[in-house]
């Protein structure tokens, strides 16, 4: 199974997808329309690129700091959380999902993902 398929079996996950770092492709599964999934992919890719730029800047300023290379990011809202690791995104319902389990699952599943954003 792909990580997206695996994520959808986790409690609280309402949608998950993958995007290409170069921005020309995305795929998804779950409770989103095609157009909304495209928008989510674009926003996640933009934030990932920004986080990587910030991580590189921090690394130049203080080498061997533990934030570089960035592996992902999480936005926690009142009812929903967006978790992104490498080029995979996931939307989680806070009431029925576990943020710790989701982050840990994604981090392990994507542990060998290249940090080169290619």
């Amino acid at each position: 199974m792909s990580i997206v398929t695996d994520l959808l079996t986790k409690p609280g996950v309402i949608a998950a997808g993958e995007y290409a770092y170069r921005g020309d492709r995305f795929s998804y599964r779950g409770a989103l329309s095609e157009e909304h999934a495209r928008m989510a992919s674009i926003m996640c890719r933009a934030t990932t690129m920004g986080a990587n730029m910030e991580g590189r800047m921090l690394e130049v300023f203080q080498p061997r700091n533990g934030l570089f290379p960035p592996r992902g990011w999480v936005v926690h809202g009142p009812d929903y959380t967006v978790c992104v690791m490498a080029n995979v995104f996931c939307m989680l319902d806070n009431a029925s999902g576990s943020i710790n389990n989701t982050i840990n699952f994604m981090a392990q599943a994507l542990a060998k993902a290249s940090p080169d954003l290619i």
Binding site: L58, N65, G66, G72, V74, H76
Partner: protein, 133 residues
């Protein structure tokens, strides 16, 4: 509002800090000064302020376009790095806004070692309501 000392009690806490919405570092606690210092926290605070603003804009736009509610306002933004994560919260500021206050408290943040990080515990600590006066 969680104090910096409370945030330093979280599993794997390496540093806790407060910063303005414009990113300036206001106060900090550092557990391992040889690994993370005030200058690094200052740059990190500016990065976190930028990320909170961008995430807030995206959540606002997402809700307007999709009519899905529950993403805005952003309560916490977390950057997961190779060995460390940084969690920042602006929830206290939202509570002040809800009460009609013009002067807002600072953002709070905590740097956690990934191997011990409990993100949900960090969120819960940061979301703890203020004690009644």
């Amino acid at each position: 509002m969680a104090t910096l000392d409370e945030l330093m009690q979280l599993p794997g806490a390496m540093a806790a800090f407060e910063f303005r919405g414009s990113g300036e570092l206001l106060e900090q606690r550092i557990a391992y000064p040889e690994r993370i210092n005030e200058s690094t926290l200052d740059l990190l605070a500016h990065m976190c302020a930028a990320n909170m603003s961008i995430a807030t804009m995206q959540a606002r736009g997402w809700e307007k376009v999709t009519h899905m509610k529950g993403f805005y306002p952003i309560q916490e933004f977390t950057l997961v790095g190779f060995d460390w994560s940084v969690v920042v919260s602006g929830l206290d500021r939202e509570r002040f806004k809800d009460r009609g206050k013009a002067s807002l408290p600072p953002f709070t943040g905590v740097v956690l070692a990934n191997e011990k990080a409990d993100y949900e515990a960090a969120f819960a600590t940061m979301e703890k309501p203020e004690p009644a006066p």
